[in-house]
């Protein structure tokens, strides 16, 4: 066999091995195995007065506590929810929206995230 053909096969085999390896690790940023220390809280409808919110869980914690505060002081609702790693859940609390700053505070372990809407005119 032509030794130059051997070089071509060798090069292609190395490139193949390299690229298969790089493909295998490229989606790690989406993988719970490599990315397990955070979660996100967001309003389901950011533009309306509704307070429905979503918790997306990328952490190893699965138990979340949430509370709704008016003007950051008056607790008007609260609850607990379990969300598996890599999943998300939309919550629709039954609260009367007042003419105040309405804050959703979500906590798990020692970490807390907040979102809010200013309802004042």
């Amino acid at each position: 066999m032509n030794p130059n053909n051997n070089f071509i096969y060798f090069f292609l085999a190395l490139f193949l091995a390299s690229s298969v390896y790089l493909f295998a690790i490229d989606s790690r940023y989406n993988s719970p195995d490599y990315n397990t220390d955070w979660y996100a809280v967001s309003f389901a409808d950011p533009k309306s007065d509704r307070l429905d919110f979503v918790i997306e869980n990328f952490s190893s914690q699965t138990d979340f506590h949430w509370e709704i505060l008016a003007d950051n002081t008056e607790k008007i609702s609260q609850g607990d929810v379990g969300i598996q790693t890599g999943e998300k859940k939309e919550l629709s609390p039954l609260v009367t929206v007042s003419d105040k700053k309405m804050t959703i505070r979500v906590s798990t372990g020692t970490d807390t995230q907040e979102i809010y809407k200013n309802m004042q005119e």
Binding site: P3, F7, I25, W38, S42
Partner: protein, 636 residues
């Protein structure tokens, strides 16, 4: 799992079908199975020629008004390959084409040389892969910009017009768009980095065969693999540029050596006389074809190539001044031939009538020529060059220039190419005012490592090598301890400097959470907003923010971006201040006017740096929160 395997098989099939096959078929149509090209050369050259061929196929589809889809691309590539195979079939029936060339011995490597080549290629790929394993994720700003237009091409089935911006050139997107369309691979996968890695590797191999052809010394070519492939394998413009998505430079460093290879082969006959060989005109036609491909791919590389051409011509004609009466007729017989003129005029027709690059329409040349306008454009110092090219390589490379001049073979067109390539880029990057160049000097300096690597190999060989390949060790042994010790010292210095440069470039393990947070927030905004909303994001403190526009696909300049702070202070390039004001002081009068003018209603920032100013304002709601991203909505 099955989906991932299928996706990868499709990716490799697309690479082979779109890049290797058209180039290989083209070479087969032109040269048949003649010995003008070795099998290894055919493999290496096929890739670059395939990229240029696919560029022109895309232009043809666009010129005919056909949508660029998986079907149309596959059909046009199949048509080109079939046409080439038919031409090959017809031509192979004619006697002479297959047997007219002498048996090529240049590629008969000894067993030791073969083992060394395999080892060097292994190390090259291994080091680059190790570096890329921590940087393959979709985070690089430049890659994000390029992938936006790639996605645009995939979504819209036509070539992007870049909103008339001159900074993007079509040849930078077509290879990615073609692979994306043919294989269905996502721009968020590793496929752009892997494609660019392949371009980078084939560029190095192109320089390998170029050096082999010009110097006709196998050991010099092998040393080129050491200096360009293994040593400084990570530093710019190598693996760092691959992961950073510096597409133009990586592609330029494939196409420029490829063009030099073909130009050299077309002029190779001067080494033995003044009668062009049968293949000379074909090589010149391919050189012109590749040059047009380069002009369609990267304006900076093309600009540099023009300067190098000027110096090559000056060096070659000055060196051969006494023979000009024989030289000019020989050159005119070479140039005035059907295949050369047809390629040249076809290229011009494409360039000016079918698909003209934006940088030509927008006269980008005017901004590149003139007195240097900034401190970053006044030229690199030797210290700059030493750190960017590597101490050992620049020392041996500069020595190589002297040795090449001392042993200059005036009839060897390759000597003129190598000398002009190195000297012109050296001048352009260190003394731009002499040539009236107004471009960032470090961007030009990044091109210097290629010719300097060749010259380093040449000088190391000239110092310690021998013309009789099998007696290298004997010569070293018989030349006394001084030479042997000198060789060991120089080689150790080179290896330590080159490898330690790569070692220092390795990152700590990448924290992937910030990337995931940016993408999650981008996905949220893509779902919850429409093109009636205007989003402003921060580029300073958000990871992978340039990839956000691919989630939204609402225009290249959407969303608005607060750029690096220093850019707002650049007196030579005044810019709008709204993107700065709207995040820094959202409640001051200027910012309020900016909000009214731009219609900005969503702001995405890193809460560690930009949060307090929004929290105290009643007209902002915080609608999204994660450790790395907060999104604020302007509610009135």
């Amino acid at each position: 799992m099955l989906e991932a395997i299928t996706s990868q098989i499709l990716f490799y099939a697309a690479l082979a079908f779109a890049f290797f096959l058209p180039g290989y078929a083209l070479l087969l149509a032109i040269f048949g199975k003649s010995k003008a090209l070795n099998a290894l050369e055919r493999f290496i050259l096929s890739f670059g020629l395939g990229i240029v061929s696919v560029d022109f196929l895309n232009f043809s589809l666009a010129g005919l008004g056909l949508p660029i889809t998986r079907l149309s691309l596959s059909a046009s590539i199949a048509l080109l390959v079939s046409a080439c195979l038919i031409i090959h079939k017809i031509r192979s029936k004619k006697a002479g084409l297959e047997s007219g060339m002498a048996e090529e011995k240049l590629f008969d490597f000894s067993r030791h040389q073969t083992v060394l080549i395999f080892l060097l290629v292994f190390l090259t790929i291994f080091i680059k892969t190790a570096y890329l394993s921590d940087t393959v994720f979709p985070t690089a700003t430049d890659m994000g910009h390029h992938m936006y237009w790639t996605q645009w091409m995939i979504d819209n089935h036509r070539l992007p017009d870049y909103d008339q911006m001159p900074d993007f050139i079509i040849g930078e997107q077509i290879p990615f768009g073609t692979i994306g369309l043919l294989s269905g691979a996502s721009v968020f996968s590793a496929f752009p980095v892997i494609t660019l890695l392949l371009v980078n590797l084939l560029g190095i191999l192109t320089v390998f065969i170029l050096a082999l052809r010009i110097f006709k010394r196998k050991n010099i070519a092998i040393l080129v693999l050491l200096f360009l492939g293994v040593l400084y394998a990570v530093a710019s413009p190598q693996a760092k540029f691959v992961s950073g998505g510096v597409v133009g430079n990586i592609m330029g460093n494939l196409l420029m050596p490829l063009a030099f290879y073909f130009y050299y082969r077309s002029m190779e006959f001067f080494e033995t006389g003044f009668a062009a060989e049968k293949s000379s005109r074909a090589f010149l036609a391919l050189a012109i074809f590749t040059t047009f491909g380069l002009f369609y791919t990267h304006h900076l590389t093309a600009f540099i190539l023009l300067f190098i051409f000027a110096m090559i011509a000056a060096v070659f004609f000055t060196a051969n001044f006494k023979d000009w009466k024989k030289l000019l007729p020989a050159l005119s017989r070479l140039v005035i031939s059907p295949q050369v003129l047809a390629t040249f005029f076809a290229g011009l027709v494409f360039f000016f009538l079918i698909f003209t690059p934006n940088y030509v329409k927008n006269s980008a040349v005017n901004t590149a020529v003139g007195a240097p306008s900034k401190e970053t454009r006044v030229g690199l110092t030797m210290e700059n060059l030493r750190s960017s090219i590597g101490e050992a390589r620049i020392a041996l490379g500069l020595l190589g220039i002297i040795i090449l001049i001392a042993g200059f073979k005036k009839r060897n067109f390759g000597h003129s190419i190598i000398l002009a390539w190195a000297v012109m880029i050296f001048l352009m990057s260190t003394q731009p005012h002499l040539l009236f160049i107004n471009l960032p000097s470090n961007r030009i300096g990044n091109y210097l490592s290629y010719p300097i690597a060749i010259l380093s190999a040449y000088s190391l060989y000239a110092l310690f090598g021998t013309d009789k390949r099998s007696k290298t060790s004997e010569r070293l042994a018989s030349s006394g301890n001084l030479i042997r010790a000198g060789f060991i010292v120089v080689l150790t210095f080179v290896l330590v400097d080159g490898i330690s440069d790569s070692a220092s470039a390795f990152k700590d393990k990448t924290d992937l959470a910030p990337v995931a947070q940016t993408f999650d927030a981008s996905s949220y905004l893509a779902q919850k907003t429409s093109s009636n909303d205007m989003i402003l994001k921060d580029h300073n403190y958000i990871t992978a923010d340039s990839w956000m526009k691919i989630f939204l696909m609402r225009g290249y300049k959407y969303p608005l971006s607060r750029g690096y702070f220093k850019r707002y202070e650049d007196e030579t390039k005044p810019r709008e201040m709204c993107t700065l004001q709207m995040i820094a002081s959202p409640d001051n009068a200027e910012a309020r006017a900016c909000f009214a003018e731009t219609g900005t209603d969503f702001i995405m920032v890193n809460p560690r740096y930009d949060s307090a100013q929004f929290r105290k304002l009643k007209n902002f709601d915080q609608t999204y929160s994660s450790p790395g991203i907060n999104i604020y909505y302007r509610n009135n």
